[in-house]
């Protein structure tokens, strides 16, 4: 029988990591994602699967605990919201440099600064374009439903270990807090220490006579070697770009006007499409699921088909830069965003699409 539960997004991902065989969670409370730690503590994970859950003294400590666990080949994670993720950037960069797999969850709230606890998408640049120092990328998954919050726990860990990379689930306060039904999977057993040593020969597990010592470090003072390390990382990111692009399209077959949106904004656009189609407007949606790697090719393909593209983001316009790269000037691209924690309404979004691209004389007025 199917195991279906009504859950909050934050609870769903917490349940998802337990069932995905997660070994350890280290985190620090912050709204709107504290339910992740609360749920894990309540779930008695030590008894259920042996998963370790620890409330750290800060996000800085959290990410470095994740580093320590990941370097032992464990499936480890942390979660936070925007200000906490900013604090973690040094640690994330160290994990990029040492190629340590981990799962990171950012339930984004409005910024800058302490900002607001309301949902926002203003951390796109931080997640997708870098965040910490150095030339590196994270795989960034953008859930648009509570089910995806749950699903991306396992997907995130699988990708993290497949590529030895850090995977960030870039959610927002709305997806984290809202309740939907979730279809749950069977429990995946945690890996044993023997399995880990066999599967990941690079881990620190105590040097045995049959091998050289294992060292986890991002330091190499020799620029020639450091360049080689960087080239290796870039090759990995290229491979990911070639193989891991994920997106979803809605009503795109005959679309003349295209929304591009992820996460909560995509949910708003889904509703806007219904409203538009009711009016006879041929509107569709491209929803990137991976923000890195970004679905440039799909954007390019659709750009040739449609008369206008509207990026809808809860930010002043961040993903739009990637959309423009994909569009490459083929068609006009507009942006609509609400800032500071406000979720746009579907009719508002549709109205902007009409105003920019569809109503006569207004063509292109609000493009930027």
């Amino acid at each position: 029988m199917e195991d279906i539960k009504l859950m909050k997004g934050n609870e769903a991902i917490a349940e998802g990591v337990i069932r995905a065989g997660c070994d350890g969670y280290f985190g620090y409370p912050i709204t709107p994602q504290s339910e992740v730690l609360e749920y894990l503590m309540m779930a008695r994970t030590e008894e259920r699967t042996g998963m370790v859950v620890l409330q750290a003294e800060s996000e800085i400590a959290s990410i470095h605990m994740v580093y320590g666990g990941a370097a032992c080949g464990k499936r480890v994670m942390t979660s936070s919201s925007s200000p906490g993720i900013s604090l973690m950037q040094e640690g994330i960069s160290f994990m990029a440099g040492t190629e340590l797999p981990c799962l990171l969850l950012n339930v984004v709230r409005g910024g800058p600064g302490l900002g607001t606890i309301q949902p926002s998408q203003s951390d796109y640049f931080q997640a997708v374009k870098g965040g910490g120092h150095g030339d590196y990328k994270l795989i960034v998954l953008a859930p648009a439903s509570v089910q995806e919050m749950y699903d991306f726990a396992k997907l995130g860990f699988d990708l993290a270990f497949k590529y030895r990379i850090q995977v960030m689930v870039l959610s927002d306060g709305a997806i984290g807090q809202m309740m939907e039904k979730v279809v749950l999977d069977e429990q995946i057993p945690r890996q044993t220490n023997e399995e880990i040593i066999k599967n990941y020969p690079w881990v620190t597990s105590g040097k045995t006579p049959d091998r050289e010592r294992n060292i986890i470090t991002s330091l190499d003072l020799d620029p020639v070697k450091q360049e080689k390390i960087n080239i290796h990382l870039q090759e990995k990111f290229k491979k990911i770009t070639e193989n891991e692009v994920r997106f979803e399209t809605l009503m795109c077959d005959d679309a003349e006007y295209l929304f591009v949106a992820y996460g909560s904004s995509a949910r708003v656009c889904q509703k806007a499409i219904q409203l538009g189609r009711d009016k006879g407007l041929k509107v569709g949606l491209l929803r990137p699921i991976t923000l890195f790697p970004f679905p440039y090719d799909e954007v390019a393909r659709l750009a040739k088909q449609v008369k206008g593209i509207l990026c809808v983001e809860m930010s002043a316009g961040q993903m739009i830069e990637d959309v423009r790269l994909g569009v490459n000037g083929v068609v006009k691209v507009g942006h609509f965003g609400r800032l500071g924690g406000i979720i746009p309404a579907p009719d508002e979004v549709l109205n902007v699409m009409e105003e920019i691209f569809i109503r006569e004389n207004n063509y292109g007025r609000r493009t930027n």
Binding site: G24, I60, M65, G68, G69, A71, G206, R213, I215
Partner: protein, 259 residues
């Protein structure tokens, strides 16, 4: 006639009284001649070897002069970001509680940028060992003021001496962590004389045993010289350390494990 002593006749296995610890790699140490880091490394490795723990050990190297400790120690190691070694060690130990886990940190790493991680790992009573080399200065970056720099001591960033009114006082973090119930063994030692080396080795043995007995966090401070940073010869620096560092950082056990 007595047999003539030659180099070859002396260098026989039966005459050997001192040799490289097998857990030190053949790589030449990168530390300045006269510095205490090398001795501290060797003592830790001797203890791990004697207690037969190599295959159980995961060490954490800090940012500081000993950032490359993993080049010299033949054990699995992780390099941590500046100050974060106790958090990294926490992650390791929580997930692999049967391993022997230690951090090796300088005073800037442990008592400035990493104060939070140090205090909280101690307060949680993480079952790890922290080996803390206090040389009163930032050695690696060229001799800047450390949290443990003495009052009036000249460094690159306190060129007229540490003015305690504007720059604060030497931080006695070892006394601080001794107050926390999570620590089981807290001691301050040095490695500048053979007698002190022997005492430090005993302290390291005790710290390791505490971890094997799951007693909580043991914290071994080693007050050391930094002859380059202090701009002295090794001999001068050891004398200066005795006369100036030890009154502020007195040697001896601060907290002993309950039996």
């Amino acid at each position: 006639m007595e047999e003539e002593l030659t180099r070859e006749s002396i260098c026989q296995h039966e005459n050997l009284v001192y040799s490289r610890t097998s857990l030190m790699t053949p790589k030449a140490l990168s530390y300045c001649p006269g510095c205490g880091h090398g001795t501290a490394h060797r003592l830790i490795m001797e203890v791990i070897e004697e207690m037969n723990l190599q295959s159980q050990t995961i060490g954490v190297a800090p940012v500081g002069c000993s950032v490359l400790a993993y080049d010299f120690l033949d054990i699995d190691m992780q390099q941590a970001a500046h100050g974060r070694a106790p958090a990294v060690a926490t992650g390791i130990k929580r997930l692999l509680p049967d391993k022997f886990v230690f951090t090796y940190q300088g005073d800037g790493d442990l008592a400035a940028i990493g104060t939070g991680e140090t205090i909280h790992a101690c307060n949680r009573g993480e079952n790890i060992c922290i080996f803390f080399v206090n040389n009163g200065i930032y050695g690696m970056t060229g001799g800047q003021m450390a949290p443990t720099t003495l009052p009036n001591m000249k460094t690159a960033t306190s060129p007229y001496g540490r003015d305690v009114v504007t720059m604060g006082y030497p931080l006695k973090i070892t006394e601080m962590v001794a107050m926390l119930p999570g620590t089981c063994f807290v001691t301050r030692q040095s490695v500048h004389t053979p007698a002190n080396v022997r005492k430090t080795k005993k302290a390291i043995q005790k710290a390791v045993q505490c971890q094997l007995d799951k007693k909580g966090l043991s914290f071994v401070e080693i007050v050391s010289n930094c002859n380059s940073g202090w701009k002295m010869t090794p001999l001068e620096s050891n004398k200066w350390m005795e006369e100036n560092m030890f009154p502020v950082f007195p040697l001896g056990d601060i907290k002993v494990p309950k039996s």
